[in-house]
Amino acid sequence: MSLRAEHELHRRRAGRNIGLALVLLGFIAIVFGLTVVKVTSGNPMQAFDHVSRPEIIPGAAPAQGD
């Protein structure tokens, strides 16, 4: 009696792996799509980045030289 290289279990496991791969690829596509929409939808994207930026404080006077 020889060992079979392919078992029903291998087929099922492969199906599960392919299914998971497709789900993950779909998720990547959705996050990418959402990112593109959020970035291009026109909301202000600038924020404080360790340095004070008076120009993004609502109502603040423009800095000298502006």
Partner: protein, 313 residues
């Protein structure tokens, strides 16, 4: 050890991808997708199609996650009932621990992703819905009170509210009315099912109204809830999500639903057994159509609005 001895060992059946999908109750998910989509599209504020699509998907994943948690907790009674015995956990395809892990992981994933895709109100409502279905309904009420499906029905009623919140960022009268429509529809829908599936619930020891208070009381309750549902469903037609199309559909469907409920109420057990619960079964079928067409009509009003035809002008 020889090759032969290896081959005689029993290999534990491993779950396929479809078994994990079945864990998420795809049929319930399809209803959630439909009602959440109607809530989203009926809202007065539009959303970007990509955000709308992703949000509906995350709402569906959240609903699926609560389904997995329900299957983990209820595996013992699912194994007893004919209708549920083939679910992945009682069938031995998926381990109970795996169902719990899938449920918890997907719940967190769905809520966080919905918050990122839309807003905190929608995500908060989704989190509450999952908690309500998995903990309040499945773990607490289902095996404790015959009013289980009345209060548990709230979990199924939240999706249009979440869809509305995705678009508006809040809660409105119309979204509460859509919630109430499903909430009040659930008891007559499930009790009609319980009238002709009683043996299953009795065997599993689930305190359905038919088991605890008998069929006469159940028939009275079906009529009472249908009487309360009708003005609510028709009244919704006069709000901003309603219109002539919705109102016409609602009047016809509620008249038919009321006639069905009265027929169920007037029958006794002997008559029902004689014709194998014909009236109860047709009422159950009508109840499915009832909900689908009400939400379909809300969707139709929303679709007609850009052409100046939907709503009350």
């Amino acid at each position: 050890m020889t090759d032969a001895s290896i081959n005689t060992q029993t290999i534990q059946p491993e779950a396929g991808f479809g078994d994990y999908v079945a864990l998420l109750k795809p049929r319930v998910m399809s209803l959630v997708v439909f009602t959440a989509l109607v809530g989203l599209l009926a809202a007065p504020v539009g959303v970007h199609p990509m955000i709308g699509f992703a949000s509906i998907l995350f709402i569906a994943v959240g609903a699926g996650a609560s389904g997995a948690l329900n299957m983990w907790w209820d595996a013992d009674i699912d194994a007893v009932m004919k209708r549920t015995a083939k679910r992945p956990v009682p069938a031995g395809k998926v381990e109970p621990g795996e169902a719990l892990a899938v449920g918890v992981a997907l719940s967190g994933f769905a809520v966080v992703m919905l918050a990122l895709a839309s807003n905190m109100v929608a995500a908060g409502l989704l989190a509450f819905t999952i908690f309500f279905y998995a903990v309040i309904y499945t773990m607490w009420l289902k095996r404790w009170t015959p009013q289980n499906i009345v209060i548990g029905g709230a979990a199924g009623a939240f999706p249009p509210m979440i869809g509305w919140a995705v678009a508006t960022g809040g809660i409105g009268l119309e979204s509460v009315l859509m919630f109430l429509l499903i909430f009040m529809w659930t008891p007559p829908h499930f009790w009609a099912l319980a009238l002709f599936m009683n043996a299953d619930y009795e065997k599993a020891g689930v305190p359905m109204l038919t088991v605890t208070h008998g069929r006469r009381v159940t028939r009275n309750h079906i009529l009472a809830y249908t009487l309360l549902l009708a003005p609510l469903a028709i009244g919704t037609g006069f709000t901003s999500i309603g219109g002539p199309v919705y109102l016409a559909v609602a009047v016809v469907l509620n008249a038919l639903f009321l006639i069905g409920a009265v027929r169920i109420w007037r029958r006794d057990e002997a008559t029902s057994q004689d014709d194998k619960y014909k009236v109860e079964k047709s009422f159950f079928g009508l109840s499915l159509l009832y909900l689908f067409l009400h939400f379909g009509a809300i969707l139709a009003e929303a679709a007609l609005r850009p052409y100046g035809l939907g709503g009350w002008g």
